[in-house]
């Protein structure tokens, strides 16, 4: 067969594409269960950590999760509830706008929804090194036990960039160089607080 002939060209292209797709399909199938298992694991890990349980042993996550977190449905929203030292805490997953796309995560509050209990990020598409720093511990720890004011949480754009440690002022520091993303985060928090306040009344 002639190498530059049309039949050879088509046959060759077809065989090459077929082989490539076949191998890739196989590789994908054989790893897809691992990927989805891992996604579920991360999901539960983030929910646990929003309630203040840091589980480092991956083998224990599923077990701990089912013993600690209870799931109820209120107003069609999935609510996670846990009891710790005699007090009740509850939270939900959120999905809100970031600068570049959806930011998802888990927010937890105390039973009367006047104090944030925990705030964790599940996924985001912010700029690496800038907006992506919303995942850093110092930023997220600002939210922990932060009192919720009458107008929610405010954002301090001129903070130290190291985090606001005053838990009673209902204010968090923005990330230096990523003010936009910080604004979106504070907007998400305030939106979620409104929803959680409504739910707090219906929680037994």
């Amino acid at each position: 067969m002639k190498k530059d002939g049309i039949i050879y060209t088509i046959l060759f292209s077809f065989t090459a594409t077929f082989l490539v797709v076949l191998i890739l399909g196989f590789a994908y199938q054989s790893t897809s269960k691992k990927v989805s298992d891992h996604a579920g694991l991360i999901n539960r890990k983030v929910i646990l950590s929003a309630f203040g349980y840091e589980v480092t042993d991956e083998n224990r996550i599923n077990q701990d999760y089912s013993s600690i977190i209870k799931t109820v449905e209120i107003d069609g929203i999935e609510i996670y509830v846990t009891e710790k030292d005699g007090s009740l805490y509850f939270g939900k997953k959120f999905a809100g706008n970031g600068l570049w796309g959806t930011i998802t995560g888990v927010i937890a509050v105390n039973s009367t929804a006047d104090e944030i209990y925990g705030f964790k990020i599940l996924s985001h598409n912010e700029t690496p090194g800038l907006g992506a720093r919303i995942e850093e511990k110092w930023f997220l720890d600002q939210m922990k036990n932060e009192a919720i004011g009458p107008s929610g949480i405010s954002l301090n754009r001129n903070g130290s960039g190291k985090g606001d440690t005053d838990k009673s002022n209902s204010s968090i520091d923005a990330i230096t160089g990523a003010t936009q993303t910080s604004v979106f985060i504070s907007r998400i928090i305030n939106n979620e607080i409104k929803i959680l306040k409504k739910i707090a009344g219906k929680l037994k």
């Binding site: 890739l24 399909g25 706008n97 970031g98 796309g101 959806t102 598409n125 700029t127 003010t179 936009q180």
Partner: protein
């Protein structure tokens, strides 16, 4: 869940504050080699804008109606790049039929574009950020215009810089990179102006 980032904000952000070239570094290879000449820069910039606008829309449909329903997302790199190559080829044919003049200015740049990472990059961002069709359109066009703006600006600056006395080791690429660095800083400065609401 589709994020509701306003398309207009996305449009301006992709031209200025998050310029595909200066903030995400996409399409650097041809950017550096072509910006030596002002007229070619204009031509390539226009070509990139056109191709980006078309491919981002086409790939969005491929993504939503073929890749996602058939669970073929893992093949997306191959599919996107083939779609881009095909669109470029078709555009080349259309332009050749419509206007010889336009073909002379754009034609030579089109093959270069298939391997321009800005085109593939924008599509991958659209996939990862899960944009709607309207957002895709504005993001695609905005990124193209941003790329165009950046290369034309750089070409204009380079015409002057090439005549300046620069240390031998820094000549050519070195000083160009520093120029791009300053441009990137200037573009970051726009972030105060555009408030993405």
């Amino acid at each position: 869940m589709t994020p509701l980032v306003s398309p207009l904000a996305l449009f301006f952000a992709s031209i200025f504050t998050s310029n595909i070239l200066l903030a995400n570094f996409l399409g650097m290879c041809s950017f550096i080699s072509i910006s030596r000449d002002f007229n070619s820069s204009r031509g390539l910039g226009l070509a990139v804008t056109v191709v980006l606008s078309v491919t981002s829309i086409v790939n969005w449909f491929v993504l939503k109606y073929i890749l996602i329903p058939f669970d073929l997302l893992y093949l997306r790199f191959i599919v996107f790049i083939i779609v881009i190559a095909a669109v470029v080829q078709i555009l080349e044919m259309i332009i050749e039929r419509i206007s010889q003049n336009l073909y002379m200015t754009l034609g030579i740049f089109l093959p270069l574009i298939t391997v321009n990472c800005a085109i593939l990059g924008v599509v991958l961002f659209i996939d990862i950020r899960n944009y709607s069709l309207v957002q895709t359109f504005f993001y695609g066009v905005g990124s193209g215009l941003g790329w165009w703006l950046a290369i034309v600006l750089l070409a204009a600056i380079r015409e002057k810089v090439d005549k300046a006395p620069v240390p031998a080791g820094l000549k050519g690429i070195g000083i160009t990179l520093i120029t791009i660095g300053f441009m990137a800083m200037a573009f970051v400065g726009f972030s105060g102006m555009i408030n993405v609401q």
